[in-house]
Symmetry: C2
Subunit: 216 residues, 2 copies
């Protein structure tokens, strides 16, 4: 069975949980607590598996895969149904660009290790760290809104009327934005898409609060 | 003809230039100066084309594509020869993960707008900004070294004995690291791969200093 190394609050792991669920795949979680004891992702056994010391890892029949978007691509290639990227090459590029906008332009600036560096190495206070967080989220989601709102390929979801990989990246990013008090007024179309996603069991079952390792 | 909106120093544009050259495709550059007049990427005409206000953009027969890795995937799908990702699904996932490590874990922390935010909004001095830069480059390249060195799929290049998408991401990142005085002692295998890449005309012709818009 597919094995996913996951942490309930990791939005990269959340993306993969959504895709696994959308494809109806059975998977077994291995919980990696990113905050306990200095971070279980830094333990030698984990780093031996993934030198990046990041979640998620997907293990499929001995193959150890890292980086959420590479894992999602792999699942799309090895378990093509239901299709989560469109068939047309230019449309595929659009959907991938939306996913990458989140994975490259928003999430990396706001993950745990970056916030920790701002605090520990640069002495940035909590208020300014929260402003940093909201700045990149609002800039990124506001930009994505302009890529999605009114685009002829946008439907009930980021591309057409069935959920796909861009939606699997969007929903975790909006969840993070909410947690940090980001202004979602910048992206009404994206929030409407998020709400349609959250009406689906595949998304709901992947949510942080639905994970067995969720806290409070 | 393919049209690439590019800036000589943009490492995301550099990745795409390498891939275009490796595939032997003719392309016409459109130069976007990221520093002149507050940044040409913020001009209305450019933002109308790409609301992200980032380079590169590839225009192919009317399709306007953004995000370097999405563009590279598109080129791989529409111009499959020579192949720049392996055929096997797990090997493809490994190569994509290496490309994403650079695109998601290193480059986003060190691009122009982030350094500008550190300076203008957080008042971080140049020395500390350079430490920030080197920290993420050395952490990222050091980690990538552990993913590549000694891996059975590593050859003369990141995967096997012909260059591919991971190499197209690696070479621009190492060029940036050199520019900012990063310690490349953390990644001898990657530097050896870089040197093999730079022996190839496709890489040399894509380099910042070989572009018509290069300065000094």
């Amino acid at each position: 069975m597919l094995k996913l190394y996951t942490y309930y609050r990791s939005s990269a792991a959340y993306r993969v949980r959504i895709v696994l669920n959308l494809k109806g795949l059975a998977w077994e979680p291995v919980f990696v607590h990113l905050r306990r004891g200095g971070g279980e992702q830094f333990k030698p056994d984990y780093v031996a598996l993934n030198p990046q010391a990041l979640v998620p890892i997907l293990v499929d029949d001995g193959a150890v895969l890292t980086q959420s978007l590479a894992i999602i691509n792999y699942l799309e290639e090895t378990r093509p149904e239901p299709r989560l990227v469109p068939a047309d090459a230019a449309a595929r590029a659009r959907v991938r660009a939306l996913a990458l906008m989140i994975a490259c332009e928003i999430h990396p600036l706001n993950n745990l290790r970056v916030l920790k560096y701002l605090k520990d190495e640069l002495g940035i206070e909590e208020d300014a760290r929260n402003r940093w967080y909201r700045h990149w989220v609002e800039l990124g989601l506001g930009t994505m809104e302009r890529m999605v709102a009114g685009h002829p390929d946008t439907g009930a979801f980021c591309h057409g009327d069935s959920p796909g990989i861009a939606d699997a990246c969007l929903v975790p990013q909006i969840a993070n934005a909410r947690r940090f008090g980001g202004d979602l007024g910048v992206c009404p179309t994206l929030v409407a898409i998020e709400q349609r996603c959250l009406a689906l069991e595949a998304f709901r079952a992947a949510a942080p609060e639905a994970q067995p390792d969720a806290e409070d």
